[in-house]
Symmetry: C2
Subunit: 459 residues, 2 copies
């Protein structure tokens, strides 16, 4: 079985410059999903993906409407019923390019400088989508793929995929598969192939505390009215104990403990204390006692204050006793916490702790499930072997602190796990000016995807 | 000595309608001190007062410049060296009239409806200034006053008298006197003559807590960085203990305790729990254990959160871990607390409680001394007897929760106490739309001031 694999790799190497031209063309469409004036460009980008899939020989390619920007679907089922079916996920939308004056070259005209290609979307994630298509083209150059494929390339990832869950739930049969590839999670360093096997979920709340019916003069009434800003501070302050643990009732009950093997694996990651100190500019880290920084951000749930507001916030002084106060608070969740259940714990906490001297309201703004993948699934092992082959180094297994809801949505609606990897790097400025793609890593990435497809076909 | 006193009262009664016309003329000048475009009107109002004083026969009348709006000075020293000298304080500036659409008649065209005169400044305090001038005119109609008088009528009271302390300190000799009359503190009810013998001071701070060098993604960094908004809440929350007492170190040490007699006197006030519930709209009062509402607002120091700000405060959700957080915090002070010393206590508290994981800054924005007057001074007894005579009822003695810095400034720079009274009522809407003056109370007030002048001349 090494013959077709090596032929595919050779094909990919011969065609590297053309793949790069494809990527430059894809990049030139400013598909900024948050900008209502770019609706036409989003459609053009979707059509570009669809046309490219058709050109490869993918069947049933469709640009399918959603409540927002469309989803591109396609399938290749010629490997037959005995072969695995991989759902390839990606997104064709990008972040805005502002502030434009900080770019050294035009954001939507890809420019090669040194070993990198500079443009919005080069790393996140048009480069990753083109890498997957290039690898598939290489493998198809032998006439047949070793696995079946389906494609789901969406256009709303950068605005939180508001219509994706509905789309997936409505098309369970169409999207039925054995596993998903999600090449959107990147690597920790150019020499460190990385598999992200867990993503945190989220629950986002707003708490409003109401005191007097109107703002009061703090001189005339200070001392007889419970200040709602003070009450808000008391409620927020007691949401953590002195060990940095969240005090919502039952918060940790469903949290899967880390076993010794996983902790050892996480300890291999380069995101040490020094990394976090440098990235954040704080003089000292903080967090839940008994866990390392990488465990705290990836494997443990957290509660953060995202915003505070009350009373007078301008320059100088105003002696107001405010009528109300507000906090935005969000939790990052880990398996098997449930966002609705955490909102209920938040509600219970407030009910138990809010003094009778005030009124309050709690609002549940956003919820998304955490996800964790079996590190020994066929898919993970196939990608792991592929990365190890290309880099000559065993990949690190990483838990990611952020939330990628599509991974949990595939688990929930399709019952499948995703293999989360990719070839973006931490210094790619994914959402900032001068976004870049490191081309040697990208080219290795194409090879690795070819290997992964053949590994899956064998396994 | 009853002859001249009764002649003065009779004169005042004969001239009531003209006094009212004087007031309407004074009101028609929109002397809004906070509005830079009204500078000319402030000067017109000052000139109106000066001209009126000259017309009465007051000597050395001057409109004296300050760093802001001018002060009107005048003196009547013909009672001779043996007689007391009273410094009459007042202000000719007013609050803005906005929102104009809530007024039932034009704010600067006084309109009589029922027993009240409606206009901006009618109660606060052009009506009080005209009452004092009318009483003095009545007493002077007999040829000579029983006391010497000096006048200090300022134009910046409604913007916090920013230039007054400097002015007083620079003119100690000119302003030298035995006591001051400040008719700006009002009555608790039309049938309840009121002397305000204590005013709270103020110390106003800003606290800023700094965490990471820039806003962070709460998913990627939540759990390893001490959230500055959380730290701010913890610091603010612990500024009160479970008994509602302020925890700044040494905060209560210089506070003069209330004796049984004073508590009994304060218990006569109609500002009961029911009053505060109605005024504030809260369902339950709160405050320092062991003190009544009226003691809490008047005789005890307090600490209030005036404002909170951090991170994302717009609609919806943004998963930011904020770089910094801010609180505006002010204390109302009572004798013998000192605002500078309280700032130092605040600084010490933050230094002792701020965790090493954050940086912070504290700013001292405003400071003003509390004041308390001897309830048995000649001045207080003279006014007390006058009020009792006119109303047929012993006045209540009230501590006021707000701050009127001029009272402490007279104590500090001139070494004299003020008698704080006045004929405004709680429902006069002093700073709101449809400000009014209750005319029967105002006319009694003129009589009372005449009596007070003669009482002082006798005592």
């Amino acid at each position: 079985m090494t013959e077709p694999r090596e032929a595919a790799i050779a094909y990919a190497h011969r065609n590297q410059e053309r793949f790069l031209e494809d990527l430059k063309e894809f990049i030139s469409i400013p598909s900024i999903s948050t900008d209502p004036e770019r609706k036409g460009d989003l459609l053009r980008a979707a059509e570009w993906v669809a046309s490219h899939l058709r050109h490869l020989g993918v069947d049933c390619v469709k640009v399918m409407p959603t409540g927002g920007h469309p989803v591109v679907y396609g399938e290749y089922l010629k490997a037959g019923q005995g072969a695995k079916t991989v759902l390839v996920y990606g997104h064709y939308d990008v972040q805005p390019a502002e502030p434009l004056e900080l770019w050294d070259s035009a954001p939507f005209v890809a420019q090669r400088r040194g070993e990198s290609l500079y443009a919005r979307g080069s790393s996140d994630m048009k480069g990753q989508v083109v890498a997957a298509l290039a690898a598939i083209e290489g493998a198809m150059s032998n006439g047949a793929l070793p696995v079946n494929l389906k494609f789901l390339i969406e256009g709303e990832e950068e605005i939180g995929s508001p219509n994706l869950a509905t789309f997936i739930a409505a098309h369970k049969d169409l999207l039925a598969c054995d596993l998903a590839f999600n090449p959107d999670t990147g690597m920790l360093a150019p020499d460190l192939p990385t598999i992200t096997y867990a993503l945190r979920g989220m629950a986002y709340f707003e708490l409003r505390v109401y005191g007097p019916s109107h703002d009061l003069h703090s001189g005339l009434y200070g001392g007889v009215v419970h200040n709602p800003a003070q009450v808000l501070c008391e409620l927020v302050a007691a949401m953590h104990d002195e060990k940095g643990r969240v005090t919502l009732p039952g918060f940790y009950d469903p949290v899967r403990p880390l076993d010794a093997e996983e902790r050892q694996e996480l300890a291999r990651l380069p995101t040490t204390e020094a990394f976090y100190l440098e990235q954040t500019g704080v003089k000292m880290l903080w967090g839940e006692a008994g866990y390392t920084p990488v465990e705290r951000t990836g494997a443990r749930p957290t509660l953060e204050v995202n915003g505070l507001y009350s009373g007078f916030t301008g320059e100088g002084s105003k002696t107001v006793l405010p009528a109300w106060a507000m906090a935005k608070i969000s939790c990052r969740l880990v398996p098997d916490q449930n966002p609705e259940r955490v909102f209920e714990q938040f509600r219970q906490y407030i009910e138990a702790h809010a003094p009778k001297t005030v009124r309050y309201e709690v609002f549940n703004l956003v919820g998304g499930q955490a996800s964790i993948s079996d590190r020994n699934s066929d898919g993970v092992r196939a990608v792991c072997r592929a990365l190890e082959h290309v880099w000559g180094k065993r990949p690190v297994f990483r838990r990611e602190g952020g939330s990628v809801p599509v991974v949990a949505q595939f688990q929930t609606y399709l019952g499948v796990e995703s293999v989360n990897f990719g070839f973006g790097l931490p210094d790619d400025n994914a959402h900032g000016p001068n976004e870049k793609l490191h081309l040697p890593t990208w080219q290795r990435g194409i090879d690795a995807i070819i290997h992964a497809l053949y590994n899956l076909g064998e396994g």
